[in-house]
């Protein structure tokens, strides 16, 4: 298929002024600096101690092609250059080097509700926001009912949006953007807001968009969303393009890049980040094989052990139950496993391990969340819940044990257990 975006050696350089006290350049400072530098030069004391200027490449040498109908995900840490790349492609900012050719109209959704005005009603904001995103008035009018229905705000159409709940606000804003009919749709982490039901709806909509032959460029920190939505994924780090390939491969590389940290192990003992409350704290967690080695690509026929170390801090004498939450790449929950028979926990360190038998999980990526919940007669309390803390990828060796019978395609489902069967011929 033909390309719609073709980038060659894109780079963006920002200049950081270290001495700058104010957030903005003020004319007052420019003038006084000018006079001071002039005076220094006159008196021969110009020793180069002017505000030190550091040049820094937010994006460097990025080349890629985006084809029709492709859904390209971009991942990377904060400051890796993802947003800069999107801004260049949306023509908000100019590249310092390189070039990019774009075929067709681009709609960029870098923020939910850009240009929404709180004083205006929902109806007025639909037109305003649509125009800002590049829709023609006739186009907005044609899709108006669809937009309103998608956002589920029919009753509040003539209420100023300042009276909307944040959920309604986001729904309306995304709905306008979702009805853009451009050849290229650029979306920055905007689905993180809004409730789950609506997020699902948005993802569906984006799949539809790409299905109709348009291209989607999508930035997210939510790996599950990336794997489920995108057909391809790029990993950026320090402004450079490190990986470009299948989403699950690239995501594993991304998790693997944090130094010694593997996607399948998490150690919080030495980190600044504290997960937990006054009662308990998460120390570390890992996905291991039966020998206690960290493993992130187990095979279907390999049992794995999910472990979590945590510390009980106070003597509240609660019955604290460790529980693990397994999510599929598309964000659906595969299952939740909680420890049975838990005693009252005294202060101290604990380790919880849960063995997942071989031939139970399906192949593909799983994201594991770690939680500690205590139950009492007044109800239950969650002491910590670290969602999608770890990730691992179950591989299917495609042998006969998996009961594929030569079938090579994907097998759907959150789990693929090996169950007891009987098949008999009836007389």
């Amino acid at each position: 298929m033909s390309w719609v975006v073709q980038a060659e050696g894109l780079g963006k350089q920002y200049i950081l002024r270290h001495e700058a006290r104010a957030r903005y350049v003020a004319l007052r400072d420019v003038i006084s600096d000018g006079i001071r530098n002039f005076a220094l030069r006159m008196t021969g004391r110009d020793s180069g101690q002017r505000a030190s200027i550091e040049r820094f490449w937010a994006l460097k040498d990025v080349s890629f092609e985006l084809r029709q109908g492709e859904r390209l995900g971009i991942i990377g840490r904060n400051g890796a250059g993802k947003s800069t790349l999107l801004k260049i492609l949306s023509r908000i900012t100019d590249p310092t080097s390189g070039r990019v050719a774009i075929k067709g109209r681009v709609a960029s959704l870098l923020e939910v509700g850009t240009g929404f005005h709180p004083e205006l009603t929902g109806r007025e904001n639909i037109f305003l926001n649509g125009a800002i995103l590049g829709m023609a008035r006739s186009e907005i009018r044609r899709k108006f009912d669809e937009i309103v229905a998608f956002a589920e705000i029919e009753r509040f159409l003539d209420t100023p949006v300042k009276r909307y709940s944040s959920g309604m606000y986001v729904r309306l804003a995304f709905s306008v953007a979702a009805h853009l009919e451009t050849e290229i749709l650029i979306v920055d982490e905007v689905l993180a807001v809004g409730d789950l039901h609506f997020q699902k709806k948005c993802l569906g909509r984006m799949q539809e968009v790409a299905g109709s032959g348009r291209a989607v460029l999508f930035v997210s920190h939510n790996m599950a969303t990336i794997t489920s939505l995108c057909t391809r994924c790029m990993l950026l780090d320090f402004g450079r393009l490190l990986e470009d390939g299948r989403p699950s491969d690239v995501i594993l590389k991304y998790y693997g890049r944090g130094g010694s940290v593997s996607p399948a192990a998490l150690d919080l003992t030495a980190s600044e980040k504290q997960v937990g409350d006054a009662h308990a704290r998460l120390m570390s967690a890992a996905i291991q094989d039966v020998n206690g080695r960290t493993i992130y690509e187990p095979e279907l026929g390999q049992p794995i052990v999910v472990t979590m170390r945590y510390r009980i801090l106070d003597a509240a004498r609660l019955k604290s139950v460790p529980n693990f939450h397994f999510y599929r790449a598309d964000g659906t929950c595969a299952f939740v496993a909680g420890a049975p028979n838990v005693e009252i926990s005294e202060p101290g360190e604990y380790i919880a391990a849960c063995r997942i038998p071989s031939h139970f999980l399906n192949d593909g990526s799983y994201f594991v969340g770690f939680a500690l919940t205590s139950f009492s007669n007044v109800g239950h309390a969650v002491h910590f819940f670290e969602q999608s803390a770890l990730c691992f990828n179950v591989r299917d060796p495609m042998d006969s044990v998996g009961r594929r019978h030569g079938y090579g395609g994907p097998i759907p489902g959150a789990v693929r257990p090996l169950l007891e069967w009987t098949v008999e011929r009836l007389k």
Binding site: A26, T96, S97, G104, T114, L128
Partner: protein, 276 residues
């Protein structure tokens, strides 16, 4: 909107060739932004429209008292309130356009850093809002004329021409100020001063016939002199004769302001999103 076959190339350090074509395709956004500003303006304040009437009216009263009654400046036989108000109209248009326009980019920073469109839409949109205010004030002038039983002659038909001149002057200045305001954030402190000083050096409270004849050409370097004199001339007819060399000079000055404004704006526009 542009069709699907159109292709753009973004390249480092190259000015865009399709800028003016883009501007055309974003014309609807231009109207929407102006429409938003007008809507918000009249929604937010209770006195809304009254505000655009009250301001020039009060200024007129003060000027009439100070310059007409106390300083006894000549009015060439025209009711002093009308003399002042005919000048007040373009001046108020100019002052509010410059005040709003020079701040418009910074005020719309959230849109500018998130969406692409030709940035020139924003400051020019602010001018449109001021034009609407101007038209409302025009109705006030009409009432004033009825009150003083003052009948204008055919000259009034030329008023739109001077409105265009006023738009040219303010757009030129706004483009400069708005762009400078993005770069140097303390520029907004200078703008009110400019407007205040401008009020005193423009013939608003007095007729420009009080300026010594030898100085009138120099005086007309201030493009607002041509605008205001022109308004007076079109409203008061023959009773406020037009100084043609001055007008020509003012037109030239305003064109220069507009052209340099566009050039400077275009030059700095590309970095707005980075510094705003």
């Amino acid at each position: 909107m542009a069709n699907s076959s159109h292709q753009i190339v973004i390249e480092a350090g190259r000015t865009e060739r399709h800028y003016w074509r883009d501007l055309w395709s974003y014309r609807e956004l231009f109207f929407f932004l102006a429409w938003r500003d007008i809507l918000v303006r009249y929604k937010q304040t209770v006195i809304g429209i009254a505000w655009s009437v009250l301001r020039p009216l009060l200024t007129m009263v003060i000027f009439t008292i100070v310059f007409g009654t106390l300083a006894k400046l000549p009015s060439d036989g025209v009711p002093y309130p009308i003399l002042v108000f005919a000048a007040m109209l373009p001046w108020h248009f100019f002052a509010s356009a410059v005040a709003e326009g020079s701040n418009s980019l910074v005020q719309n920073a959230n849109i500018i850093s998130k969406v692409y469109f030709p940035r020139i839409i924003v400051p020019v949109g602010a001018v449109v809002v001021s034009v609407v205010d101007f038209l409302i004030s025009c109705a006030l002038l009409l009432l004033l004329m009825i009150w003083y039983r003052f009948v204008p002659d055919w000259h009034i038909l030329l008023m739109p021409f001077f409105l265009i001149l006023a738009v040219t002057v303010s757009t030129g200045l706004i483009l400069w100020l708005a762009a400078l305001n993005v770069r140097y954030r303390d520029f907004r402190y200078i703008v009110p001063f400019l407007i205040q000083a401008g009020l005193l050096i423009s013939p608003v409270g007095f007729s420009s016939s009080v300026v010594p004849h030898d100085w009138r050409l120099v005086y007309s370097l201030n493009p607002m002199v041509g605008v205001i004199d022109g308004f007076r001339w079109s409203v008061l007819g023959g009773q406020a004769p037009l100084y043609v060399p001055g007008l020509v000079l003012s037109i030239e000055a305003s064109m220069l302001l507009l052209v340099t404004g566009i050039v400077y704006f275009r030059k700095t526009e590309r970095s707005f999103a980075d510094v705003i």
